[in-house]
């Protein structure tokens, strides 16, 4: 094998060698590509949300006036506003949060934390990544081809409910979006197979399943959810595709079909999906809180099995997204009860994080600030989740801005804060250079204030009955909408600071330490140099 040995050399190939990236079979390089991709998609997804806040800044039409600006879907009519909300959601979910957490941090740190030299299937790992740009390109294309009549793009919401996604959008935009999600699904399923195999088969000697770092546990649960829920979405999407193009009647009442059937299939995937978005964040926050409290995480096993419980229950609560479709009261009662049960393992996690900090020697380093921000904001989102779990209350709050506020508290302020906690926790490990923590903390404060100013008023708007997915609103909602839009501007400053941190770090190139965090950082990645060698653990570490 000496002929191939050169490619396995510990010598790191040049950053500017395209083959290093395009042909990669290295989990760290692939992880980096995922992170770059997530940043790129985040700019587009975040830009779209800027259009939403711009439009909603005042009553009446600001951006989506229907005048032909030559920008197609970006500045079109009210339909294009719906396209923008739809694409904002899909991009943030499938092309920003998932690639960052599972693809980026998962790829980087699952092998490092379990003491493995790489993923189980390094080549398949790379197709999981490269399918994403293909999928993203299809999704972006869909915005610029006919969707409904002459209107461009699909504007039916990220849930793709029929009949809007079947007879309601007869153009190719919806077909592109369906195939985009098919390809993203293939990417995630292959990634899930890879992670499960890696975690089960490649733990270093002595690393029993009950000694695995919590981030590895969180990814393990997450990818099981992906493996089991995404194929059901693939089935539902295929039914949409055949209903649209081949005359099947799955969701067409005139042939005996039922649009509500789609909602069941979709949410059987969709509910596990929202846990897919947050669970890796739980793992990241556990590490950060433990590191900067200089204590092992409180209740390690309880934390691990709480995630398992959340993952399991996540499969049996899906219809709480559908309380208003006219299901029987008994069925609603079941879904209310099952949904509320999720608050128990989630509470275990929140209280265990607090208990970890309790009596610890806490250092407010940059990642810790993001992690504490996460715990606070995720708890707010979790509490409004318990409110929405009540079918009776949800009857009036369904599809209002209260729901929008709720899921942005758990995702935009929960998952995204966890991503930034992980970003600043592992930045030096990944890039091998230090960052300016003053700028990074400034970003935190702009994000924390900005995100709360955006989303907290949306609770009031929702309680007052403002519906989501609508381009205009009555004058009564003007004040809180304006506040919300100004919050976006604050958050935008934070985003600029994020890039300032990145550029500053890349220009100054201050060599990072192997372990910048001291004795609180106990997992295996801190035993390696920053950045780690191209192939680590040529001799497997032994875990006591």
């Amino acid at each position: 094998m000496s002929a191939d040995a050169a490619t396995h050399d510990d010598h790191t190939p040049s950053l500017w060698d395209w083959r290093r990236w395009v042909l990669s079979t290295n989990h760290k390089d692939i992880g980096t590509m995922y992170l770059v991709f997530a940043i790129f998609a985040g700019i587009i997804g975040g830009g779209l949300s800027g259009l939403i806040r711009w439009e909603l800044m005042e009553p009446g039409l600001q951006v989506f006036t229907g005048e032909d600006t030559g920008w197609g879907a970006i500045f079109g009519n009210a339909h294009n506003y719906n396209v923008v909300t739809t694409m904002h959601a899909l991009i943030m979910i499938f092309f920003m949060v998932m690639p960052a957490m599972i693809g980026g941090f998962g790829n980087w740190f699952v092998p490092l934390m379990i003491g493995a030299p790489d993923m189980a299937f390094p080549r398949m790992n790379n197709i999981s990544f490269w399918l994403l740009p293909a999928s993203f390109a299809l999704a972006l294309m869909s915005m610029f081809v006919p969707g409904a009549g002459a209107d461009l793009g699909f504007g039916g919401g990220w849930v793709l409910y029929p009949p809007l996604s079947t007879s309601g959008h007869n153009g190719p935009a919806m077909d592109l979006l369906i195939l985009s999600l098919h390809i993203a699904g293939v990417s995630s399923i292959l990634g899930a197979i890879n992670f499960i195999t890696t975690i089960f088969n490649m733990r270093a000697p002595g690393m029993t399943i009950h000694k695995m770092p919590l981030f590895v546990w969180s990814v393990l649960v997450t990818v099981f959810l992906l493996l089991l829920s995404l194929p059901v979405l693939a089935g539902a999407l295929t039914m949409l595709l055949t209903d649209r193009n081949f005359g099947t009647a799955f969701f067409a009442p005139e042939g005996g079909g039922d649009p509500v059937m789609y909602q069941h299939l979709f949410w059987f995937f969709g509910h596990p999906e929202v846990y897919i978005l947050i669970l890796p964040g739980f793992g990241i926050v556990s590490h950060v809180v433990s590191t900067f409290s200089r204590k092992p995480i409180f209740g390690y096993l309880g934390m691990a099995y709480a995630m398992v419980a959340i993952g399991f229950i996540g499969f049996i609560v899906w219809a709480h997204h559908m309380y208003t479709v006219g299901m029987p009261v008994d069925l609603k009662a079941y879904f209310v009860a099952a949904t509320m049960v999720i608050a128990v393992p989630t509470g275990i996690k929140i209280f265990s994080w607090i208990a970890t900090m309790w009596g610890g020697s806490i250092e407010f380093r940059t990642p810790m600030m993001w992690a504490i921000g996460f715990i606070f904001l995720f708890t707010v989102g979790g509490v409004t989740g318990v409110v929405l779990a009540n079918a009776g209350v949800d009857q009036s709050l369904h599809d209002t801005y209260y729901v929008v506020a709720h899921f942005h508290y758990v995702l935009s302020l929960g998952a995204v804060f966890a991503i930034f906690a992980g970003w600043y926790y592992w930045f030096e490990k990944i890039f091998g250079v230090k960052y300016n923590s003053f700028l990074a903390r400034a970003q935190f404060f702009f994000f924390f204030i900005g995100a709360n100013v955006i989303f907290f008023p949306q609770h009031f708007l929702g309680l007052n009955g403002m519906p989501r997915r609508y381009v205009d609103y009555p004058d009564a909602f003007e004040f809180w909408n304006a506040v919300s839009s100004w919050g976006y501007v604050i958050m935008l400053v934070g985003m600029v600071l994020f890039f300032a941190v990145l550029i500053d770090a890349m220009i100054r190139r201050r060599k990072a330490d192997a372990n910048p965090w001291g004795e609180g950082a106990t997992t295996l990645e801190w035993t390696l140099s920053s950045p780690p060698p191209f192939h680590q653990f040529s001799e497997l570490p032994k875990i006591k």
Binding site: M202, G235, T238, A249, S538
Partner: protein, 284 residues
């Protein structure tokens, strides 16, 4: 064992073009499919033969690149297996991988069974009286004890012949293994042929354009996806047969055949569920 200095048995794979090529193929396949179904360009556009409505050019291009990727990728895996990269621990990893892939396939079929059961069980809530019965008025379902029973027996028999081939190979009986696999592939082809014949005798339509309704949708999509899996499984087994003939499998090392056999049993079990519920219990 790969890597010159590594003191472990994991397989650090060489850089490979196939993931990127395969992704380009998937992208082209997708836009080719959309072009064919909905038309990405008008009929007079210079590339209408690729991406116009009803065109096959874009689809064919994407399909060829995907097939090329499969041949190249799995060809590389065979080379790596030959040079000893697939150690015991790598072999276990591939077993995990195949089991998990089949688990995801099971969940794919859950979607189709879910649709079928909802319509079969809760038919009485349909508003149109013609659709409020099961099967819907005018639908004449297949007699399960005719071709479907025959197909059940064929698949069950093929399950035994693939086990025969596997056991023969484990006992270094290459001839037995080859004969067992030939039987399995032939039985797979027989199943597909009978399914085609059965489809041609259907007394209900697939498309609403031909007067069809949800019965045809659920029946043809569920059995059709199963049929597609039978075809894939047959190709998988045929590849194993050729690899066996080429001397690439031994009594000790033949995971390809085992994976094909697992896949085949999975396809078999899906059929048993289809036969039990779609053909027998809910025949109407």
């Amino acid at each position: 064992m790969a890597g010159h200095a590594a003191k472990h048995d994991y397989h650090l794979v060489d850089p490979s073009p196939w993931p990127f090529v395969g992704s380009v193929g998937a992208f082209l396949l997708a836009i080719g499919a959309v072009g064919n179904m909905a038309g990405l360009v008008g009929p007079d556009h210079p590339i209408a033969f690729m991406y116009g409505e009803g065109s096959w050019g874009g689809l064919a291009l994407g399909f060829l690149i995907v097939i090329w990727t499969m041949i190249g990728w799995w060809g590389d895996m065979i080379k790596e297996s030959k040079r000893g990269d697939h150690t015991a621990v790598v072999d276990i990893g591939m077993r995990y991988g195949m089991i998990l892939f089949i688990a995801s396939e099971v969940m794919f079929f859950v979607a189709w069974f879910w649709a079928f059961f909802e319509y079969a069980i809760f038919h009485d809530v349909r508003i149109d009286p013609a659709l409020a019965t099961w099967p819907p008025a005018g639908v004449e379902t297949f007699d399960p004890w005719h071709l479907p029973l025959m197909n059940t027996l064929i698949l069950l028999l093929s399950g035994t012949t693939v086990t025969w081939a596997h056991h023969a190979l484990q006992h270094d009986d290459r001839k037995g293994a080859i004969i067992g696999l030939i039987f399995t592939v032939v039985l797979g082809l027989a199943f597909t042929s009978l399914q085609v014949i059965e489809y041609s005798h259907a007394e209900f339509a697939f498309s609403m354009a031909d007067g069809g309704n949800l019965y045809g949708s659920t029946f043809f999509m569920a059995t059709g996806f199963h049929g597609a899996h039978v075809v894939i499984g047959t190709i998988f087994l045929a590849v194993c047969l050729f690899r066996l003939l080429a001397g690439q499998m031994s009594a000790k090392k033949h995971f390809g055949l085992e994976a094909a056999a697992w896949y085949w049993h999975f396809v078999d079990v899906v059929w048993l569920f289809l036969f039990a519920f779609v053909y027998v219990v809910y025949q109407g």
